[in-house]
Symmetry: C2
Subunit: 368 residues, 2 copies
Amino acid sequence: MIVEKKIFALPEFRTSGGALIKNVRVGWESYGRLNADRSNAILIAHYFSGTSHAAGRYTTEDVFPGYWDALIGPGKAIDTERYFVLSSDTLVNLNARDPQVVTTGPATIDPATGKPYGLSFPLVTIGDFVAAQKALVDHLGIRRLHAVMGPSMGGLQTLAWAVAYPEMMERIVPVICAGEIDAWLTAWLGLWAAPIMADPAWQGGAYVAEAQPLAGLTLALKLITLQANHWLWTDAQFGRAYADPGANPADALGNSFKVEATVAAIAAERAKISDSNHLLYLVKANQTFAAGPSGTLADLETIRARTLLLYSPEDQVFRAERARATAAAIAKGDAPVEVAEIHGPFGHANGLFAIAPLGEKIRAFLAR
Amino acid sequence: MIVEKKIFALPEFRTSGGALIKNVRVGWESYGRLNADRSNAILIAHYFSGTSHAAGRYTTEDVFPGYWDALIGPGKAIDTERYFVLSSDTLVNLNARDPQVVTTGPATIDPATGKPYGLSFPLVTIGDFVAAQKALVDHLGIRRLHAVMGPSMGGLQTLAWAVAYPEMMERIVPVICAGEIDAWLTAWLGLWAAPIMADPAWQGGAYVAEAQPLAGLTLALKLITLQANHWLWTDAQFGRAYADPGANPADALGNSFKVEATVAAIAAERAKISDSNHLLYLVKANQTFAAGPSGTLADLETIRARTLLLYSPEDQVFRAERARATAAAIAKGDAPVEVAEIHGPFGHANGLFAIAPLGEKIRAFLAR
């Protein structure tokens, strides 16, 4: 499945905080065809470090497809012969330097100065991400979505969608997420941001594109990479292996273990296409997430959409008991709620890398 | 109980890696009196960020006593009317700038240059910490210890003691630790070190005392503080409270939550007395920990000492299943092994802050 990035532009966007952003542009992709009465659309919202590239490949040479390609495609659980699947880059998307990503945030050039907005860009919320998606959906003439779904921060957007526009979707599938952010996750999110702000190259956010705080950004991405995974992965995959078989870590301060080198390599690769200020804005949006006015699970009782909530018992970002409490909160309202577990060695990232076995459950849920 | 810091000096110390360090000095404390046949000594080994201050106060004005004061003292579980309890600062102790700590490491002035050793100081191991303690015990004329015990890295030292000198103690109490370091903990330890090395002020370890990489060190201590604790603490203690009740975190990038501000304040306080290079050396010692020649749990089968192993089910540094596997490995040998759980809201730090309820079990174990 070859896919193409499209651009959705809004001349003006008013944030939930009241700020006005001009010329908002976000990238989006779609898979499958919108039917005549525009009733077969499924919206996918992406995770913290994800993009709108949920499925397919841009060219036949692409090594990796979109992140939920195991689910989305012709004949797959989210069947693109049946559904029109769409997905957009959020505002302040982390991968602002990925040529396939179109987003608007601190790294965007402020036409008034010719320089990146930096910290003059207004703070945005998960609700703002949803509002931008809503504008895209409206623009496409879709009045009601067959489903809204997504993993992690995509699950937060899914819940915010269902609270903000309870009549606009028939179903939701929030995956590896929760209806509120607890103090533990708040603190960890803050520590993901901290290395960037500790890096002198950050310059209070006023760095130029060529000189972003790469050391801090890379360290932030190491923390994220490790925390979103699990010891079932590291212990089975790396054990006590050295980064360099000939360089015993006990022999020199600079000699490291393979697990460290692998996490470092993943982070360095991700840092190349990431923007540091965007990471800070994403942390803020997640820390202050509120699915509705109260910011607590009580907001979820107003959800009307039939719900399939998926979580991983091994998740160390959104913990299992928080996911179950989220399902229970939705079930207090009118919506029927179904819950299923995702099993795999990747912890939180099971919602990305171990989602395939849930395909049939998702297929059946979408068809009901 | 008023205690006094003493200094133990070794003109020469040969590391397990073969390096020679001259003029090694470590601080130590003792509580209670050594009996006539020198058979009532209990050695306490300290944790990663701990010191020899296991109990008592230096002055009546001290706000906090030593970390295991709940256990150690007259009439307490480790009864100083019965036992002579001693504890020493490790080599490369983190709290090198605490006036009550005496240690030898990269922050020590190299008499050959008049500057801190920095990275010219040789790498040291948990086994080296034990060897320095052994020299102190020998110096005191103690031929056999009533017990060796300690939490976390102190538990690693306890296991290394029991493997290295199986006839030298009657009992061991390894607490919140494991007999080997897995890939997951190895990676996290590496991320504790990373902020220091990412800080330009680190200068490849060649900073002067007045200009250590404080931002990196503080961030490292934030990571350690949070990871050694638990959401049962953060969620109950802080919830969604703001750092400043008048400054909603949603309103400005710099506005934070109370949990973040508290972790930051703890880390900043700890950073004042910590040394950055010492932290790196401690990380290396822990990553490369080996209780015996193989570095695996098989080493533990040679332990002869009666064992009481304590762990916390909520521990996110040394996980419960690793602790239980450690107990099982010791039990494969000749040593009788007893296991008990520490319950509390502090995760790994339950071994420090929630140890009191284990007092009677420890008292009985020491008396048997």
